[in-house]
Each structure stands twice: as C-alpha cells, then as structure tokens.
C-alpha cells in the first residue's frame, strides 16, 4: 500500500464529495463538494501523468459562473425550492 496511498485518499475524497452533494441542504455546500470531487479525480490523474489541469480548471470556472448567475437571479439557497421548470 505504499505507493497507493494517493489513490486511496482520492477515492475517499470522491465518495465523501458524492455523499455531501446528495446530503447537503445548502447550495454552497453542494458546490464545495463538487469542487472536492473534481480535485479528487484530478489527484487520480496526476498520480499517473505529470501535468493535467486544463479540464478541471475550465470545469471550475464554468461551475462558478453558473452559480453566480443563480445567486444573481434568486435570493435563497434552498435546493427544495428550485422547481421552476416544473410549472
């Protein structure tokens, strides 16, 4: 298990991130768990390769612009109330 500690930790962060995204009542915590998931996958890539960062950076930038536009439109962060497409 000596060289595989990085893989085990990235798997742990990935599963914690999935659990947090499903469990969180607050939208900020869900966004932060998404960042956790992306970083865990990134760590897994970097164990095998030396320089892989472009995709996750683009993903983080896009995610942040989406979240900032959501915050701009609506004033609350309850996930239960986001059923505007239902009507």
């Amino acid at each position: 298990m000596m060289l595989e500690h990085v893989l085990v930790l990235s798997a742990y962060l990935f599963s914690i991130g999935i659990y947090g995204m499903i469990m969180s009542r607050n939208m900020d915590i869900a966004l932060m768990c998404l960042e956790l998931i992306l970083n865990a996958v990134n760590m897994n890539f970097k164990y095998f390769l030396n320089f892989v960062m472009a995709i996750t950076l683009a993903e983080a930038a896009i995610g942040l612009t989406i979240v900032s536009s959501i915050y701009h439109n609506r004033k609350s962060t309850c996930i239960n109330q986001s059923n505007l497409l239902n009507k």
Binding site: I16, I29, L64, S68
Partner: protein
Amino acid sequence: MDLPGPIHDFLLVFLGSVLILGGMGVVLFTNPIYSAFSLGLVLVCISLFYILLNSYFVVVAQLLIYVGAINVLIVFAVMFMNGSEYYKDLNLWTIGDVVTLPVCTSIFVLLMIIITDTSWYGIIWTTRSNQIIEQDLISNSQQIGIHLSTYFFLPFEFI
C-alpha cells in the same frame, strides 16, 4: 520518492489525516463559512501531496489557482447569502439520507477493493515503456521544446 524516507512517511501520514478530517468537515458543518474554510484546508493538503509525487510546478499552480482564486470566490459567494437561512435547519434524517450513507460507503469500499487488487507496477511499466520508446523518434528542436515545457518550466514561466 526523491525525499528521504522518514520525511516521506511522516508527510504522507500527516497530510492523509488532515485530508480525512477536512473532508468530513466540508460535509458535516452546518455553517457554510466553516465548510468553506475546511475546503481551503483540503485544497492546501492536496497541493502539498503533489510534492510527494515529484511534480513541483503543480504544487504552486494548485495553490495559486484553487486556493487563491476559486476558494476566495466561494467564500465571497457564501458571504453574499442570507445568514438566517441555516437556522431553520431542523436536522431531520429523511429517507434519502438513510439510503445514501450505505450507498456511499459501499462505493468507497468497492474503490478500495479495486485499488488494492490491481497490480499497478505491471500497468505503469507497460504504459511508460511505450512513452520511452516513442521519445527516441522525436527531432532535436522538438526535444528542446519538450525540455522547455517540462524540465525548465518554472524559469520559463518567470521569464
């Protein structure tokens, strides 16, 4: 692996334990500012892990971009939100919460079994030998470019 043995082990154990606690802290804090700072701690720990993997440029890049830009944006986004909403949190365990906990632990256990059962040395040796063979067929100017972008990246970026 270039670092001496005890430093390597100590850094691994220390960073691993801080990562585990910080990961649980992101999910379990109800106050979103606490979980934002815990996320910052996790990102710093991940960037220090890359020292162990001998990719030194990525350490600085991860610190600058993730902690310096993205985490700051997250903290700003948290601060813009109304603070009175998480006092309405009733802390009830719904049926969805009861289902996800065994599902997530089973995902983690499955990943652990996969990691401990695959022979990584065989896979890395076969893929890296392809890379080594292909590098002999590259011309000289391309090799200069490769060296500029891998070995001498840091002075290249400073200039």
